[in-house]
Symmetry: C2
Subunit: 322 residues, 2 copies
């Protein structure tokens, strides 16, 4: 098994999970990231520290041909906007090269690629479903969408067995970097936990598509284990997500942290409101049929989103926005 971006917010939790899940007891796991820190050790874990833009690093990472590759490494939204050249190199050039390097017509590996709802661009108020045309506005979304097409093409050709999963907002990112435009969603959780007042930059009835980080890791694992025969021509799926209003989320958090004295205010910023809090009805029939699931209720979302996340949590929390 290969995990790229393994030191990131989702990558650390995915790595922990595959090293402890009995389903993967036999798996050797190669983790790759630009900086690998305390992520455990042992005969089943092989760490490659380096940049996937370097062909030598990709070669080392693929040394033992993986049966399953999770490709999480990438330059996320805000950073990609600020540094287009870097984002192209990582999100397009290195990602396409990694997919090429992974190709194996005799034994096509399952490649689970984290795409994003950013592929949609401005969302139509009427709702989004599996037939909604991708029309990305952010560079990040366009780059993810191009790579979905490459992954689907290599899958159609039988040299990869790919699955691009479009992630919604993943919460709660402890210490989420303020440069991350969606950081307020995570900050809200920890403000209420700490009893600190917090002003959300979106309106109370603004709605977002959210998934807790454990549910996200579940989805990645589920995607890795889906029998190949269940996957049709379409290899890019929008993951189910709970659509919640900010008010619902704040109420559920207050209820969860019963002693909390935090006061939540709303001072909407039009740009953030448009981008993160006007998410319409979401219908994910293809992913639902394949057994992907969101957190179910806002109470479960809150509970799971703030579960203790093991010894490595927090440490790399800002890396996803590097």
């Amino acid at each position: 098994m290969l995990i790229t971006g393994a030191a990131g917010y989702i990558g650390t939790r995915l790595t922990q999970r595959v090293l402890t899940d009995p389903a993967f007891a036999e798996a050797t796991v190669t983790i790759v990231d630009t900086t690998i820190r305390n992520q455990g050790s042992g005969p089943r874990l092989r760490a490659v520290e380096g940049d996937l833009r370097d062909p030598g690093v990709r070669r080392e990472a693929l040394g033992s041909r993986p049966d399953i590759a999770f490709h999480l490494a990438g330059i996320l939204g805000g950073t990609a906007e600020a540094n287009y050249a870097l984002a192209r190199e990582v999100n397009v050039d290195a990602t396409l090269s990694l997919f090429e390097d992974l190709r194996d017509e005799m034994k096509p590996p399952r490649v689970v690629f984290t795409s994003s709802i950013a592929v949609f661009g401005p969302l139509d108020a009427e709702g989004v479903d599996d037939d909604t045309r991708a029309s990305p506005h952010m560079f990040y979304g366009a780059q993810k969408h191009m790579m979905e097409i490459a992954l689907e093409n290599f899958s159609a050709r039988g040299s990869l067995d790919g699955l691009a999963l479009r992630l919604p907002g993943i919460v709660a990112r402890r210490g989420a970097d303020a440069r991350m435009k969606a950081a307020f969603l995570s900050h809200l959780f920890y403000a209420v936990e700490a009893g600190r007042d917090y002003t959300l930059p979106v309106s109370a009835d603004g709605t977002s598509w959210l998934l807790s980080v454990p549910a996200c890791v579940d989805a990645l694992i589920h995607g890795a284990l889906l029998p190949r025969g269940l996957l049709a021509e379409r290899r890019a799926l929008t993951l189910p997500a709970l659509r919640v209003s900010m008010q619902q989320l704040a109420d559920a958090l207050s209820k969860h942290f019963q002693g909390s004295v935090a006061r939540i205010d709303y001072a909407p910023d039009l740009e953030l409101e448009r981008q993160f809090a006007r998410q319409p009805l979401l219908v994910t029939a293809l992913a639902d049929e394949l057994g992907f699931k969101h957190d179910g209720t806002v109470e479960a979302l809150v509970r799971r989103a703030i579960e203790p996340q093991g010894p490595v949590s927090g440490q790399f929390a800002q890396r996803d926005d590097r």
Copy 2:
């Protein structure tokens, strides 16, 4: 004005056209190709011989910032299948870099990019319209589709004013290279003209989407001159094409060359039939609304497809499949 792939089958004709069309009397034209031969000269024409993979060649080509850029250079279908690495370098890496180099937020240039119906992959028998999902099977089609997304993204960002036109089969390519899978469509024209018997590798009732090369050049010019305000979010359009059966085409050719004694037989090859002769109903509402047109009738298609094509015709006819 910039024309890449200017020495190719369509590029030579487009170059001739812009140098003689009164609408462009004031335009200075920079043509780029790996080998430039006799394509005229004069103060309005600047030729850059070189490979667009080379940043220095792109820099030279963009020396005088173009208002209009036609990006025709590319590695076509059969060659891309045979040489994936080259196709990635030209169709993805160099094309994306060219789009980046062309970006200009103060004065976004109109970029007309030749895409292809290969973006669709296997065609649904029920028909194709503007909402048909692109699901390319050939590498070529996937690469074109990725670049459509980049072009649309840069257009949404206001740094380019792009238009990707998906070309159907363009006829008739004199001396079309037999390595070109669709060469038979062009060979048919010249066999009937010469009174030679010809066996088509598809069935008599097989149907193809066709456009004559002058109609294709008209479409590129029309795309270059469309007022920006008419172009909405969607920047990749399927061009109108005449859908004709092989029998209709053979009959029209025999009628056109009245003295022709050629006998046309049909020995269908399943692969070619699937790829080129099962093209279903085509509805191109978006392009129709914008005033793009196909040849109108099979008689006009035949007549225009074999019009004399000036002093440079033929000379570079095989280059498109390099």
